[in-house]
């Protein structure tokens, strides 16, 4: 509370005096989601509501003569956990000179050409937020990083140095039904320590080639989704979540073709801690690829489709070392996605539908949504996250009991 007051005080003092130079924007938002499957989890956060929050976001920005700063902070009440908290979404300093741009601080970086499919975007994500109906921007988490951009006619380069590891935020067993064979066993998380040798490096080289935006990528760091290690395979007493080393090499291209926008991306995940594929708790190396196509079918209606695949390398040793009774992943996991968007009433009403469907996992995830702008400042959205599948061990199949309906209302200023 003290924090809130001091922030408001600073704003009150600072804003009028520097109104010309500093821009203040933000929003107030209510965001609620309820499980509609009738299933409830034990525990204080396992009721029908999986999201209930009120949120204030403040954005402060200023820039002059190539230098600038940006600050985006959320203050929110989580009504399900009964907590009030702050979230520093982004806070960075900018400096640009000649062909070099520098950005230092907590920042969101988004790479690649996939629509909700990530191959070379190895930056942290918040799937728990996304699955419970929070707006898309909350899928991305900031990285505490130094980013340098070098621009040249022939090729441009972007280098991101991340000394502080940030894992993905995954749905927790307290609020979500998940496949977890060791849910009763105490667990500890071992994150990579902030050390020089653990500093993550991400490089993107890009240029326009024959009308296509093309890029190559390289990443040295860690899986952001943890592996699970047991102290004893037969009767485990302790589960340790850890983040194995990962290098990723990939490329992408996007441009106008076939009467629409065509996107292509591929990547090779090099699982450094398990190159032979013999360690069942470390993901194997794999090749990922996607092809996407998007076009306007008629006025204010856009359709986009993607085909995505993950090809597991060293599949034989994966199967040989997988403990008995564990669900096996397919050698090739495939996903199809569709996004349909129709705008009405001078683009104030947006109906959209996003679908994931995996023919190999036989599972799906559908997101229908209606969003209406009441005024320039106020919009509201109603939507649903619908999961399902043949098995409760697949990525979307395990979320089957978490189908939820969400409501968002936001006033922006």
């Amino acid at each position: 509370m003290k924090y809130w007051m001091s922030i408001s005080l600073i704003l009150l003092l600072v804003t009028p005096a520097l109104a010309e130079e500093i821009a203040l924007h933000g929003f107030v938002q209510g965001n609620y989601a309820a499980r509609i499957t009738g299933e409830e989890l034990p525990g204080p956060e396992g009721g029908d509501f999986i999201l209930g929050e009120e949120r204030l976001q403040l954005k402060l920005a200023a820039s002059s003569q190539g230098a600038g700063f940006f600050l985006k902070t959320d203050f929110f009440r989580d009504a399900i956990a009964r907590t009030t908290d702050t979230d520093l979404r982004e806070a960075y300093l900018d400096y640009g000179t000649g062909a070099l741009d520098l950005r230092i601080g907590r920042q969101v970086v988004t790479w690649g050409v996939g629509d909700l499919l990530f191959i070379n975007d190895i930056f942290p994500k918040d799937y728990a937020a996304f699955f419970s109906g929070r707006p898309l921007e909350y899928l991305k988490i900031g990285s505490d990083a130094i980013k340098a951009d070098l621009f040249a006619d022939f090729i441009s380069a972007e280098l991101v140095v991340i000394p502080f590891f940030e894992p993905d935020n995954l749905p927790t067993p307290g609020r979500f039904f998940l496949f977890d064979p060791f849910s009763d066993i105490p667990r500890a998380t071992e994150e990579p320590r902030a050390e020089f040798e653990n500093t993550e490096l991400a490089l993107r080289l890009y240029r326009n080639l024959m009308g296509f935006d093309t890029a190559v990528y390289a990443y040295k760091g860690f899986f952001r989704t943890p592996g699970m290690r047991l102290d004893d395979l037969i009767s485990p007493a302790q589960v340790t979540l850890f983040f194995p080393r990962l290098n990723v090499y990939g490329m992408s291209a996007q441009g106008n073709a076939l009467g629409g926008v065509v996107s292509l991306e591929t990547g090779y995940d090099d699982s450094l801690n398990d190159r032979s594929g013999h360690d069942p708790v470390v993901p194997n190396s794999m090749v990922k690829y996607l092809a996407g196509y998007q076009r306007q079918i008629w006025t204010d209606f856009t359709a986009g489709f993607q085909y995505y695949g993950e090809y597991l390398l060293d599949y034989g040793s994966y199967r040989d070392t997988l403990p008995a009774g564990f669900p096996a992943q397919d050698r090739l996991r495939q996903l199809l996605t569709a996004r349909l968007t129709q705008l009405f009433h001078y683009q104030t009403l947006r109906l959209s539908f996003f679908a994931f469907y995996s023919p190999t996992d036989q599972d799906y995830y559908f997101i229908p949504e209606a969003r209406y702008s009441f005024t320039d400042a106020l919009w509201g959205a109603v939507g649903a996250n619908l999961f399902g599948g043949e098995k409760e061990t697949t990525f979307f199949g395990q979320l089957d009991k978490n189908d939820n309906l969400y409501v968002t209302m936001r006033y922006e200023f």
Partner: protein, 257 residues
Amino acid sequence: MVLLVLFMLLLPVNASAITGEEVIKKSQAAFFEAGNDFQARVKMTLATRDGLQRLRDLTMLRKNYPAGEQKYFMYFHGPADVAGMTFMVYKYPNRDDDRWLFIPAINLVNRIAAQDSRSSFVGSDFTYEDVSGRDLTADAHALLREEPFNDRKVYVVESKPIGPAEYTRKLSWIDQVSFLPLKEEYYDVQESLYKIFTAEEIKDVQGFATILKRTMTNVKSGHKTETVFERVQYNAGIGDDLFSERYLRRPPEKWIK
């Protein structure tokens, strides 16, 4: 010699026998291509029949390139849910534009599909083509008549789309001096008038006649959009590098004010 004199006598008559297509071509040059480059703060007010208003506030930068190509860079100041977004278009004659949108909330640059140029521009009554021009050969143009219009002499040109479009016929009243459109009427399949463009304020800016205030009214729904151009500048010296991913992500303050 006699022939030559005769020819010279006939010349003025021939000169005024301009075709509909020539009028539209000159009109597009005056309306969408004036200067080497162009900069303006654009304020669009969208109003429903009931008087509910929405505002679109953006900076528009345009630069002309050889062979009729153009590049556009737009930065949105408001409303709040799109503030900070930038939109870039590479416009080519007779083929699909390249369009990119930068979404600051997730720091994402993405290509936007651009097949339908008759789509509404940012939810207004103006289409993309009303903002950046329509291919000359997309319509068959016919000069119907010349007449006075608000004390100006105008050409009245009828344009009929060759391919599919939401209008079947457009009438344009084009000033004979500046070649700017003073009024346009759009007719639908039922031959009924549904949309009217009017130019309310025209001023000379650095020697270029410029429409500073224009309105598109949907006469059927009563919805209308009034667009005001402020701080218009031609030949401002916009560099080629502005139209790049670098500035899409980090728009230079010098240009977007």
